[in-house]
Symmetry: C2
Subunit: 111 residues, 2 copies
Amino acid sequence: MSDSLASESPMGTLVSQLLAVASPQRMRILAELSHRELHVSELARRVRMSRALLYMHLRKLEVAGFVTGRLELGDDGKAVKIFSVLPFAVTIDSEVIARAVAASPESEEPS
Amino acid sequence: MSDSLASESPMGTLVSQLLAVASPQRMRILAELSHRELHVSELARRVRMSRALLYMHLRKLEVAGFVTGRLELGDDGKAVKIFSVLPFAVTIDSEVIARAVAASPESEEPS
DNA sequence: GACATGTGTAAGTTTCTTATTACAGGTGCA
DNA sequence: TGCACCTGTAATAAGAAACTTACACATGTC
């Protein structure tokens, strides 16, 4: 990924979203969260990965807009960070891609 | 991508497809080919990349089923490899992902 | 024959992502 | 106080993907 990816361009956004979801780990995370929202440590146990690693994946999913996290104070007074999936649907076909590329500055040819 | 990815599982297939298209370069390639089919060298000129690199990208797109290449004998007798896009449409949402994960052996928890 | 244009790949480098380990700090409870 | 939970991040190792360079070989044209 050598080019800047200018994360606001249509293509950049699409790429970020696709990259975020194009991972077995993150798919498992999304699948798990699609059943019920969970706090980080609990989620880490279910998907069997370290919290450190999970945080990395959650950050990507959050940036892409697929999940959201809120810090909540549990009944006992302990703070827990709860993540849940946001509704989303992305469809890709040659049309969508051609449009995204055409609308992105990076694709312009400097004469 | 530490796990085997067992490229036939539903999740593995989905991941491969998404990874194939989640790239600015490959999107540009697809966009270019969506207008008209082109032979490799010509395509390389248009997207401004070395043939060697382009081949790598084309291979990924071909494996994912987004493009196809055929070796053709040009009018002048020179062999040219022509690539064209295959019709495709992939939609992702939490439903699709949950299903793919559930249907994939990698996701099973060894008691 | 020299040259332009094309296909195809192997080897090696760089760069990015993923994963591990090790911290620092918080609350509640026995 | 010690233990069991929890949040959060920094440093770094390991692995995968992207990219470069350099080859071998083939055809048509000047």
